[in-house]
Each structure stands twice: as C-alpha cells, then as structure tokens.
C-alpha cells in the first residue's frame, strides 16, 4: 500500500514538472508587454482593457500587462525600473518628462525607427517630443486651453456674460472690475513663462541654440503685466505656486471669476461644485502675437531598455490610433492627436451642454496647438534658471527687464555647457 502511494506521488510530481515545463514553453513563446499609464484607473478601466483586448486578439502571442501610476511618481518608478533592468515597454509621459528622458538617450527614436506614423498625427503634436534630430514619443490625447467663467460673478460685477473677454487686455479689465465690485479675484493665471514666450512668438534661443534671445520688449511687457497684477492685488498671492489645481479649487469654491484650463476639468467641476457648473460658460483662449495655443499633451514612449521595443511601438501606435483615440474622446472632454479622428463630426457639433461647447471650441483651436514644454539640452537647468528670475520679478525683487536679462545670462552659460 505504502509503495503504491510512493509511486503515485512520484508520478504526480513528474506530471507537475512536465506541466510546468510545458507552461514555461508557452510563456517563452508569448511576448509580454508592460504598459504604464498616468491616473486612468478606475475611471477608464473598461476603455483601456478594451483596447488591450482588441490588440491581443489581433496579435496572438502578445500579452499586455497594464499598470496605472500617479503622475508624481511615474518618472521615479520608471528610473528605478530601468536601473533594475525591468523596464516597462510602453509608458505614458507628458512632453516635459519625455524630452528629459530623451536627453539621456533612454528612449527609442520613434521618428527614425517608425517614420511611417508621422503623417497620422498633427504636425505640431508629432514634433512636440522632438529632441535634437529625433522624435521620441507617439502623441496621445491632448487638450487646448479654453476660458471658463462664472456667469453669476460676471453679473454681480456688472459684466455681460454674453460678451466674455477675448483678449488679455479685456481679461485684465474684467478681473479689475470683478475685484472692485465683488471683492473676489477675477482671474488666477497658471504661470508658465516658457509657454507665455511661445504664445508671444518670442524666440527662446538663436537658430543654432547657443544663445538665449528671449529678453525682448514683448517678454518684458508680459512679465511687467504679471508684476502689476500681483502688486495691485488683482490676482491672488498664491498664483505662482498654486498652479492649475489651486485655480481650479478657487473656481469650484465660487471664489474666482475666470479660469483658463483644459475642458477635461468640466466633469470635475460638475461633480465637486454643481452650482458653479450650472453658472459656468465657455469662451475661446485669447491668442497672443504668436497665434498659438498651449496644448498640454500626453504621449506614449518606448524605453530603449524594453526587451520588445518593436512590438511595443506597434502597440503604442494602436493605442494612439484614430479609432482608439476617438473612442477615448467620447468618454471625456479631450481631443485626439490624430488628424483623421479630429475630423469626426463629434468635434464640430454641440448639443447645448458646456462640455460639447468646450469640446467644439478646443477642437477648433487644434490647428494653433503647440506643446509648450522646453525641448532643449539641459532643459531642467534652463527652466530652473528662468523660474528663479520670473519669481524674483513676480515678488518685486527685480524689475522685469533685470530679471529677464539675468535669465538670459544664465541660459547662455548653460547652453555653452558641453556635458
């Protein structure tokens, strides 16, 4: 009896070993791709799982493993994963992050390896993640800024909500009137001075990128505008540090007259502040001299350390393709980066809701869309040097001219560096 039991145990163990070996063989034939996104769970689980399923069905033998991470940790985790030799294959990054990794030669040059995708996307967006002679990302979803304003605050301030301001000068006047009549702040800009310079059409550097050139009268006037707004208490003191989130908090609390932001935040206002949502109206983003609109863009990159980078790029092209992007845009107020998807009537018609109005306005601005992140060598050092000087001007420590001259001097030193 005991002998039979032993025999049975040995046979069972052998079966297990063979089964594992067979499974291992199966796994070895399977291409496993790890796909990282930024803050899409749990809201878009069905959508992302759907496009993964479609891809796996069309590409037998490919298995996609999806991980979602908060924006604050994604570069840290990606750095650690690359250092640990377990790099993901497709990663969602904003343009600034993508270019900073491209600068370190850690991403696949999509422009060189997969030039066939170039014409699928809007030219300005395809070129966003350009670093030197390469293109290092597939453009994914994008938004162009629109202006939202609170009808009730406008009326209280004696302004006509049917005629919103359409230039920066008009916005300034409206903000002053709101402050004077209601005591509330009319406006709280998201200060990104690189974006301001691009929107003004001010060249950041010389053609050969060896000299900074942005201390022009237009740039000085823009910084002076900020300084005056701050000095005269037309914008909140926290403006510089609070960013989009701080402005949105104030707007949702019914404490801000106007906000320039992406249309995707309408759904958040609707959930968090239904009364403010009911009073919200939408206007186009005021164009400056450069006739461009800042368009924060999300990208998909393929790390060089990916063991299956060719397959990974194919999957990234699938996720950022026309069909997948159009379906995504129908779930949330975002815009596609592909030309064909943007032609869909969905982006040119409205049903009277502010979401559809915002989408129509934002989509109509796509032709002016440019990403406003720095794409120069040593971009982090350059940004830091500019930010310090802009802050100094903002808080009245320096005149705008002094601050920009100093920033240009710092940039020239950095641009000359050979490391």
């Amino acid at each position: 009896m005991r002998g039979r039991l032993k025999l049975a145990a040995v046979l069972a163990a052998m079966c297990l070993v063979f089964a594992l070996m067979a499974g291992g063989g199966e796994a070895a034939r399977e291409t496993r791709l790890e796909f990282w996104t930024i803050s899409l769970q749990p809201m878009f689980n069905d959508y992302i799982n759907g496009i993964i399923k479609d891809y796996e069905k069309a590409n037998p033998g490919v298995k996609i493993v999806w991980k979602d991470l908060p924006i604050g940790v994604i570069t840290t985790k990606l750095t650690a994963a690359i250092a640990g030799g377990i790099a993901p294959d497709v990663v969602n990054l904003n343009t600034g992050m993508a270019v900073s990794l491209a600068e370190r030669r850690s991403l696949v040059n999509i422009g060189k390896e997969f030039p066939q995708y170039k014409d699928v996307y809007f030219e300005g967006l395809w070129n966003s993640a350009r670093f030197e002679d390469g293109i290092y990302a597939f453009p994914w979803y994008v938004v162009t800024h629109v202006m939202m304003y609170n009808k009730a605050i406008f009326e209280k301030a004696g302004l006509d909500p049917a005629s919103p301001p359409i230039t920066w000068e008009e916005i300034t006047e409206c903000a002053k009137q709101i402050k004077a009549k209601t005591g509330l702040y009319g406006f709280m800009p998201h200060v990104n001075f690189v974006a301001d310079l691009i929107e003004l059409g001010v060249p950041l550097t010389s053609e050969d990128k060896t000299r900074a050139t942005f201390n022009t009268p237009d740039a000085v006037a823009k910084l002076q505008w900020y300084q005056d707004l701050m000095k005269n208490d037309i914008i909140p003191r926290e403006t510089l540090q609070a960013g989009y989130a701080g402005a949105l908090d104030r707007y949702q609390a019914g404490q801000l007259g106007m906000i320039v932001t992406g249309p995707q935040f309408i759904s958040r206002i609707k959930t968090n502040a239904p009364d403010v949502y009911k009073n919200t109206m939408i206007a186009p983003y005021p164009l400056s001299k450069g006739k461009v609109v800042g368009a924060p863009l999300m990208n998909l990159v393929v790390p060089k350390a990916s063991k299956n980078w060719s397959e990974a790029a194919k999957f990234a092209a699938h996720v950022t393709g026309d069909e997948a992007q159009l379906a995504f845009c129908k779930l949330v107020t975002i815009l596609p980066s592909t030309k064909k998807a943007a032609e869909d009537p969905f982006f040119t018609q409205t049903d009277g809701t502010i979401e559809s109005i915002a989408r129509k306005i934002a989509a109509s601005q796509l032709k002016h869309a440019v990403e406003s992140d720095l794409t120069l060598r040593h971009s982090l050092d350059l940004l830091d040097a500019l930010t310090v000087q802009v802050e100094a001007a903002f808080y009245g420590e320096k005149t705008p001219k002094e601050a920009l001259d100093q920033a240009v001097a710092e940039w020239n030193k950095i641009l000359q560096r050979k490391d």
């Binding site: 750095t79 250092a83 370190r104 003191r237 926290e238 540090q241 404490q255 982090l380 050092d381 100094a392």
Partner: protein, 319 residues
C-alpha cells in the same frame, strides 16, 4: 596585564580561569533549535533591511564618487561631486535652511515637556487629551501639509481669524513671502511632532521614582525646585534621545517642505533633502545627490556631538 587585573579583582572565578581554560561547550539540541528559531524570525526583517537599507547605503557611498544618471554607464569622477557641492550656491542655501530648521528642536522639546507634564495628571478626561495630542503624529504628513496649506492661504481661516480679531490689517502671506515661508513650515513640523515627543516624555515622567520627588518636597523644596533639580535631571536620557531624533529629523526635513512650498518662494525653503530629491529624481544626477546625502549625514553627526556632550550626564547618574 589584563589577565592579572582580572584575577586581582574577580577573585576565585579568575583563578579557576587561570588554572584550567574553559572547555568549548557544545550547544545542546534545544539551544541550537532556539538559535535557529530566533534567527528564522529575524530573517525576513534582516533581508528587508539588507535590501532597502544597507544596500542603498553602500551603493550611495559608491555612487557619490561617480557621475551616474541610471541611463548611461557610470563614470568615476573622484571627489568632483563634493567640490561641486562646495561651489554650488543652491546647495549652500539648502544647508543654511536646514541649519535654520534646527530652531524647531529646542522649541519642540520644551513644548513637548510642558504638554507631557500637563497630561501626566490623573484628571477626568485626560486620556482624551493624550489621544488628541497624538492624532497629528499618526496622520499622514502629506495630508497634514495639504490641510495647513489651506489654513495658510491668503484667504484661509488663519488670516480670517487674525483679521477678525484685529491682530492684523491685511492677510499675511504665510507661504508666499520669503521671510515667513520657512517659519510657517517649521510651525507645521512642530504641531505634528509635539504628540510624538510628548509620549516619550510621558514615559520618562512616569519612570521618575516618586520617592525622590517626595523626599525633595519633605526637605522643603518648592514645586518648581522639585521639577528643576529632580524631575528634569532624571528626564535627561529622554531629552537626549528626543533631541537627537529631533536634530536628525530637522536636518532631513522633506515631506512638509516638498508639499507646502516645493522649496520656494525664491528657494527660501529649499532644504538639503528637498534639493537632494530634485537632483536625484528631477535631474537624474544620482552621483551628486549621493554626495549631498553623505554631507547631510556628516552634518547630522556634527550637530549631534554637542547634544551628546550636553545631555550625556543625566538620569540616576546625575546624583
């Protein structure tokens, strides 16, 4: 020499040692089992510490001599990262702010001792107060920092209260003025830390032998003299521990600064740990960040030497 001294002082036991060296005793089966069990329980923690503490420390001590960005091969640069730190004005600023942060230490310790004395009484509802003071300790620093950011807002409740009471005419820019930002963040560190140190001092107060305080009182010492000459000297080992931890925490402060100001405005709250983070995970300059880490460790050592000197004598040794 040592053997002679040992035989002179320890009498017969030493003579036995001299006459016949002890035989190597074999461990019994029970002792081996106990030893294996103990280390088996320790093993998971040791493995975790080896991976997440010792290995990073050792690697940090290596990469501080290299130019290391993770993405490119490491390049040996000798002491270049250190000489760079000595010439880096932003690093100097961060050192200055971290040293300024040490102001938190004495204030925090004095307040914690006072709170501990207050809650070390058998009053009705005292447990509630002990718990209430401890709640900030168990609350996430990020949540605390975000809440305080709202309180400090120019239209926040703090400015509203001070303006309503007529103490200020215009809102104060707690986190957006160069002068106020660092003290405002320090306040949050103190608010969050009081409960933690209070518990340490409460344990200390409860271990002070009552008969010593009673003897002093019988000898005619006033309440203050009892605290000054009996309670506080007996608390010194606790003060030493708490001050040591507090100096270390102040020089390494990160969370509240990172969340509330990010090092601004105009780098007026940039501390060493925040600067190190920016260099490592912003600029991928891991070699330089590791060198900053080493300098930070050295500073912690240097700043704790006087703490040990001042507070080493205490407890029952005081007498």
């Amino acid at each position: 020499m040592a053997l002679g001294a040992a035989s002179a002082t320890s009498g017969s036991a030493s003579r036995v040692t001299l006459a016949r060296p002890p035989r190597k005793r074999r461990l019994s089966h029970t002792q081996v089992r106990r030893w294996v069990t103990a280390y088996a329980f320790l093993l998971p923690a040791l493995v975790l510490m080896a991976v997440f503490t010792f290995y990073p420390i050792i690697m940090g001590m290596v990469i501080m001599f290299y130019d290391y960005t993770v993405f490119e091969p490491m390049e040996f640069v000798g002491f270049a990262n250190f000489s760079r730190a000595f010439a880096d004005q932003d690093f100097h600023k961060s050192v200055l702010h971290s040293v300024e942060y040490i102001v938190v230490v004495p204030v925090l310790q004095i307040l914690s001792i006072l709170v501990a004395v207050l809650v070390n009484r058998s009053l009705p509802g005292i447990t509630f107060f002990r718990t209430a003071y401890y709640i900030p300790v168990v609350t996430s620093t990020v949540a605390v920092a975000i809440s305080w950011k709202w309180l400090y807002n120019s239209n926040g409740i703090l400015n509203y209260a001070l303006t309503s009471l007529g103490l200020i005419e215009r809102p104060l820019y707690w986190l957006t003025s160069k002068e106020l930002a660092l003290p405002s963040v320090m306040m949050v560190t103190m608010w969050k830390g009081i409960g933690w140190y209070m518990v340490i001092y409460l344990a200390g107060l409860q271990s002070v032998p009552k008969e010593l305080e009673e003897a002093a009182a019988i000898d005619g010492a006033s309440r203050w003299r009892v605290i000054r000459h009996v309670t506080i000297p007996l608390l010194k080992p606790y003060v030493l521990f708490a001050t040591f931890m507090s100096v270390m925490g102040a020089l390494q402060v990160f969370d509240e600064v990172f969340v509330m100001t990010g090092g601004g405005p105009l780098k007026s709250t940039l501390t060493m740990a925040v600067y190190q983070y920016y260099k490592a995970f912003g600029a991928f300059d891991f070699g330089y960040a590791a060198a900053i880490g080493m300098l930070m460790a050295l500073m912690i050592l240097v700043f704790n030497i006087p703490v040990f000197r001042m507070l080493a004598k205490g407890g029952l040794k005081y007498y």
